[in-house]
């Protein structure tokens, strides 16, 4: 059978009835012509000739505007789509300035080492063509020691990542004297990745950078580039703590694109269960790759990447038995060499299908892919467009298919395609003054330069922090200055990416004489991914975890051929520490404040491949993890709940259902990632909490200091505590979501009621109150009554 081109494939798809019946939207986005501008007259002729030889006859309008602003010393943030030539916006003024003043230095920051390598090569090839004596280097953990000295002294453009700036450059700034004294430009690419906890750390690293620059009398221009987000300027200004000019009108041409929102068919109307998003993803990907259309599939989790990779490999093993990389997985845990190999294979089209987590969302050069399949809403509009952008970066038609899962957020997008296509993407939120984060960076900053009385750092009262650190014996005050007075190296005490910088390495013991490290798992994921007896999947191979050794930070695994995978079960228990504000609204007490969250992995489910059948359970015995964060919560007094005409078990199920709906809607209200917030049902003291057990919902009581089941023979009881629903920040210390939710309390509940009312299911489904198997058959009936009760309309 002749192979179809993408145009033909899309045309055929549009005629397919079973497809159109489930397509919530199909939009053809037309191609857009380029908008050019003239070269500024100050551009060095050599530089202009070189760029023109590379095919840049003229500049796009946004490029011309950007280089003018930067030339004038204006800090900017550029927001333009992928492949719109934004790297030239900074490379041009930087190279020009170095040609004018050869002492000039520039610092480029990228969120990952891989991106830094990519951009160093790009800048290097420009310089080679320019035949100028300009040196550009990457500086990261992999840079050999003997090269570092030369880079510090001679590198005109130093390309690095925030982690290296934090732990390797700033604490040794005197070695970088030459760079700091002459620093004229700081480039921050992929600015939108610096949000949440990482962004809050990053803003503090910038505070430290600016402080060190000031010591050397430097005042560099900051050039930020960002994917499309709702608040690029506000975000840039929050990170840089200064005014920034926004440039967001792209003059670059764009290719035609077909964008499909696909909602898998309902397979069980009774239970409101839709076909798994994995099924159509597998079918579309198989068919596209069969037609030699290079395809990227994004999955929302590590596990899904592995499961899908296995499915697709199984499929193509017959036609391409020898070609191991024809379709392949790609995610953070893969070792760097393998990742480089896959990237290369994608550029050379030896790899025709890749299944990835959002690791490939950023600008790693993988060439022009034609089709993109997103298995599940990536959690934010910005991410969705970034992922879709991986298909058709330069020319020709491209295709993106977003396949919905059965959760309220995905379903909301399917029900309201206009919302998706017209809505501005998410806000980037950071809280650089998160007290724990700020404290770490004040320590690091004091190590770099003593603090002087009257100095500012962050939005809190600096002197209080300095006094606190003095009491701790970490700082020593002499006259009006605070000096670092400890033996430790504070930058090593904190990782910018996670609260816990530890990793667990996965050791393959299949060959008894030859143990091999096959992957790394971050500390938090280790509890759910490589607990004892888990099936760990890597490159679609299954490994059985024989032992997770937390003290040695190793998980010992051996290769197996199992027909199932495992999914961890956890419980979450929240205790109120401090209420910042509270109000009695209707029938509930609404509050926000500080909480302690305890999580524990208690067991796992074995799930069969393809059928997703539950094959059984196992116990896991791992320590609890403890975190302080901020939360929004409301409490419904138990006597109020008694007025509802339902059994206590049904009431508890209803509350869990309400929490489920609220968590998903909160993500939407905040325009945040679903992973940034979490939920829990219990009471304010943390003595009681509700979790999903092996056989149904259980209430656990800590009344005697030990967890014990509080469910009597007749099922759970609610006459002993006042149930509270917590929606909390998933980061220690919080990043400011809970206060926003507190203010939106009434709107949030009203939206939940309307979502449930509009949902076409009979008794509740994953798209509204959660799966009936988990929340019971009365949830859809009881939740609206509860909402009325909470809002005082009951």
């Amino acid at each position: 059978m002749a192979k179809l081109s993408l145009e033909e494939w899309v045309a055929r798809l549009k005629k397919n009835k079973s497809f159109t019946a489930n397509a919530a939207a199909l939009i053809d986005i037309p191609a857009k012509p380029a908008d050019y501008d003239d070269w500024p007259d100050w551009v060095n002729p050599k530089l202009r000739d070189m760029l023109q030889k590379r095919g840049m006859e003229r500049l796009y309008r946004h490029q011309a505007q950007a280089v003018r602003f930067i030339r004038q010393g204006q800090d900017v943030v550029l927001v333009t789509p992928t492949a719109s030539g934004k790297t030239l916006c900074y490379n041009l003024p930087v190279l020009q300035r170095i040609l004018d003043e050869p002492e000039t230095r520039a610092l480029y920051l990228f969120p990952t080492k891989a991106l830094a390598q990519d951009q160093m090569h790009e800048a290097h090839s420009l310089i080679t063509d320019l035949q100028a004596d300009i040196k550009t280097y990457t500086y990261d953990g992999d840079t050999p020691d003997d090269a570092r000295r030369a880079i510090r002294r001679q590198g005109h453009i130093v390309v690095t990542n925030p982690d290296m700036l934090h732990a390797g450059i700033l604490p040794h700034h005197t070695k970088w004297q030459k760079l700091f004294v002459n620093l004229k430009y700081v480039v921050i690419d992929e600015l939108h990745t610096y949000r949440g906890i990482f962004g809050s750390h990053f803003a503090n690293v910038i505070r430290r950078l600016v402080r060190v620059c000031r010591f050397y009398g430097a005042n560099p221009v900051f050039i930020c580039c960002s994917a499309t987000v709702a608040n690029p300027r506000e975000h840039a200004e929050k990170i840089l703590e200064r005014e920034v000019a926004l440039l967001d009108k792209s003059g670059a041409p764009s290719a035609a694109k077909t964008f499909v929102l696909y909602n898998p068919p309902i397979v069980n109307r009774e239970l409101g269960i839709r076909q798994s998003a994995m099924t159509p993803a597998r079918k579309f990907a198989t068919d596209l790759i069969d037609n030699s259309i290079q395809t990227i599939v994004f999955a929302t989790s590590r596990l899904n990447v592995e499961v899908l990779t296995k499915y697709l490999k199984d499929k193509f093993v017959k036609t391409k038995p020898k070609d191991d990389h024809f379709v392949t997985g790609y995610r953070g845990g893969y070792l760097p060499n393998l990742r480089r190999e896959i990237e290369k294979g994608l550029r050379s089209r030896e790899v025709m299908g890749v299944i990835s987590t959002n690791a490939l969302e950023l600008g790693i050069d993988i060439g022009n892919l034609e089709a993109c399949i997103m298995t599940g809403y990536p959690g934010s509009i910005a991410s969705t467009w970034q992922q879709a952008g991986r298909a058709g970066r330069r020319a020709g038609r491209s295709l993106s298919i977003l396949i919905a899962r059965s959760n309220p957020l995905d379903q909301f997008i399917m029900e309201n395609p206009d919302y998706f296509f017209s809505m501005s993407p998410e806000h980037c939120r950071i809280n650089p003054d998160n007290l724990l984060i700020l404290l770490h960076h004040i320590k690091s900053a004091a190590f770099e330069l003593p603090f002087e009385k009257g100095e500012n750092f962050g939005g809190e009262n600096l002197e209080e922090f300095l006094q606190y650190l003095e009491e701790k014996g970490v700082l020593h005050r002499t006259d009006e200055r605070w000096h670092w007075s400890a033996e430790s190296y504070p930058a090593d005490e904190v990782s910018l990416r996670a609260i816990n910088p530890e990793n667990v390495v996965v050791v393959d013991t299949t060959d008894a004489g030859n143990h091999k490290v096959i992957a790394e798992v971050d500390w938090d994921s280790a509890f759910t991914a490589v607990h004892d007896e888990a099936i760990y999947m890597l490159a679609s191979e299954q490994y059985h975890v024989d032992k997770l050794d937390l003290t040695r930070k190793k998980a010992y695994v051996r290769k197996v051929d199992a027909d199932y995978y495992t999914d961890a079960m956890t419980y979450t228990n929240v205790r109120v520490i401090d209420s910042f504000e509270n109000v009695r609204a209707g029938g509930a007490i609404v509050e926000h404040g500080e909480v302690q969250v305890v999580r524990k992995v208690v067991g796992y489910k074995k799930i069969k491949f393809y059928t997703s059948e539950n094959l059984g359970y196992g116990d896991v015995n791992l320590p609890e993890k403890d975190m302080h964060t901020t939360s929004y919560w409301f409490t419904i007094p138990r006597d109020r709940l008694r007025t509802l005409d339902f059994t206590p078990a049904e009431v508890i199920d209803g509350l869990s259902a309400l929490a489920y709906t609220l968590q998903h809607l909160s993500a939407m209200f905040l325009m945040a990632d679903t992973h940034d917030i979490d939920r829990s049902l219990g009471d304010k003291s943390g003595e009681w909490f509700v979790s999903q057990g092996k056989t149904g919902r259980v209430i656990t009581s800590f009344a005697n200091g030990r967890p014990q089941s509080a469910s009597g023979p007749e099922g759970p009881r609610i006459d002993e505590f006042d149930p509270t629903i917590f929606i909390f920040d998933a980061y220690p210390g919080g990043i400011g979501f809970s206060e926003l939710l507190y203010r939106e309390h009434a709107n949030l509940l009203a939206a939940a009621k309307s979502l449930i009312a509009k949902c076409p299911c009979a008794f509740g489904c994953p798209s509204c109150v959660g799966p009936t198997l988990e929340v019971g058959k009365t949830a859809k009936e009881i939740v609206p009554q509860m909402i009325d009760l909470v809002l005082g309309k009951g």
Binding site: S485, Y489, I577, E594
Partner: protein
């Protein structure tokens, strides 16, 4: 009234327990009560500020007492310069004073060509031992980076047969600039630096501190003899590690009693900053002083080995071999003759088969083939199974002397006498034997 951030922070770090009940907001009180509260607050503030003033006075008194105690205990004095004050202890060691196996005035006579060779810097040979500035610092940590301060700088130099040690102490962070300024002044009077691991550590750190204090001084521009690397090359083969303390004990014969372990030093200084008890610093001064003096005698010891002044009691033949290898690599064959001569006198009774092998190799490299042959013959006599000696000797006979018969006899004997050749070695010897056997008994030398 909102809670102070620092109290919230303490809760996040788990330092503070449960929050106490919140205060009732002031608005809840009558105007009269509010006025009373305001007055009460003012009174509290004045009490607090008076007690702060008292504690500041107490602090400055404690500091003064500590400084005075320090001056008495260490017989040092406060020095003032343009950048402020610091504390200085200056001592002199007379020429006749012993230090380990050495005596100061002997140590002063080290050979400058050798010193230049140790430093890998020919400029040093133009100067004298009096131009050297021996330097060692004690720091607030070993991590390096901008947050580590060298609080005690020990300097030493030879002058008219005696050895002077000046120890510069920053009694607090605020005295660092004056201390560094004094270091700069002393350094400007000397021509080159001598340190132990100073390239990687002390000088690096001092450069950082000069920049942080906005003082110009490029210590890195001074010629620098870092003793760590040559000490490791020449003496490392028989030491478990190459720390200065180990060298003192095993090589220099310096016995330290009650020496403070290096890892304790930063905390002692932090304790001094808080408690101002001068006894905390006494051990550190002594530790630093001995380090500086040992560097001077170590320099002399290494230079003596290089120049083969005489076989020292405290040296081992292998030290000379290592030194000869170093010289051969850096300057060429002629430089090693003297060492080889001295070693030759000692040979062969005391040195091991392994050392002989190295020595023979050095003879060969230095072009003294007859001496090498002599050694190889000795070695074969002691141990007919010594592959290297047999094969070197056979090569010599085959290629230089062209006495194929003698070569053949040698190899045959070795193969029959010895059993411990490896397969490869035996194979190589047999191959050579076949080759020399196929040639006429002696060749005509052209």
């Amino acid at each position: 009234m909102t809670m102070k951030s620092i109290d919230k922070l303490k809760r996040l770090t788990g330092e503070a327990g449960q929050p106490v009940k919140k205060e009732v907001p002031a608005e809840a009180f009558s105007a009269e009560r509010q006025a009373q509260l305001k007055e009460l607050r003012l009174r509290i503030e004045s009490v607090v500020s008076r007690s702060q003033a008292r504690s500041r006075a107490a602090l400055s008194e404690k500091t003064a007492r500590g400084n005075q105690g320090l001056a008495e205990l260490l017989e040092g004095c406060e020095v003032e310069n343009d950048e402020g004050r610091f504390f200085l202890v200056s001592r002199m060691m007379r020429g006749a004073s012993p230090h380990g196996h050495s005596v100061i005035q002997e140590a002063q006579r080290f050979d400058m060509t050798a010193a230049a060779m140790l430093a890998n810097n020919p400029r040093i040979s133009e100067w004298s031992s009096q131009d050297a500035l021996f330097l060692d610092t004690e720091t607030t940590g070993l991590a390096g980076g901008t947050g580590t301060m060298p609080f005690l700088i020990g300097l030493g130099w030879f002058d008219e047969g005696h050895f002077h040690v000046h120890q510069i102490l920053a009694r607090d962070f605020g005295e660092e600039k004056a201390a560094l300024s004094y270091l700069r002044q002393i350094a400007s009077q000397r021509k080159y630096l001598v340190t132990f691991n100073g390239k990687a550590f002390d000088v690096n750190l001092l450069s950082t501190r000069f920049i942080l204090n906005r003082l110009s001084c490029d210590l890195t521009a001074l010629p620098h003899l870092d003793l760590l690397h040559p000490a490791r090359r020449i003496l490392g083969h028989r030491l478990e590690n190459c720390r200065l303390a180990t060298l003192e004990e095993q090589i220099l014969g310096v016995k330290r009693e009650g020496d403070i372990p290096g890892w304790e030093i930063p905390q002692r200084y932090f304790d001094w900053l808080r408690r101002r008890d001068p006894r905390l610093l006494v051990d550190i001064f002594e530790h630093n002083r001995l380090d500086v003096i040992s560097m001077a005698t170590l320099t002399a010891h290494l230079a003596d080995i290089l120049t083969a002044r005489a076989l020292k009691q405290s040296a081992h033949p292998d030290d000379y071999l290592a030194a000869a290898r170093l010289l051969l690599q850096k300057t060429g064959p002629s430089a090693v003759f003297k060492i080889l001569d001295v070693l030759g006198e000692e040979v062969c009774a005391d040195i091991s088969q392994d050392s002989k092998k190295k020595l023979a190799f050095l003879y060969k490299r230095a072009g003294r083939i007859d001496d090498a042959v002599q050694l190889w013959r000795d070695m074969v006599e002691c141990d007919p199974g010594d592959y290297q000696a047999v094969s070197e000797l056979a090569k010599y006979l085959e290629h230089r002397v062209r006495d194929y018969q003698a070569a053949g006899v040698l190899i045959e004997k070795a193969l029959s006498d010895a059993t411990r050749f490896s397969c490869d070695e035996r194979g190589a010897l047999e191959y050579r034997l076949r080759r020399v056997s196929s040639r006429p008994a002696t060749a005509q030398r052209r």
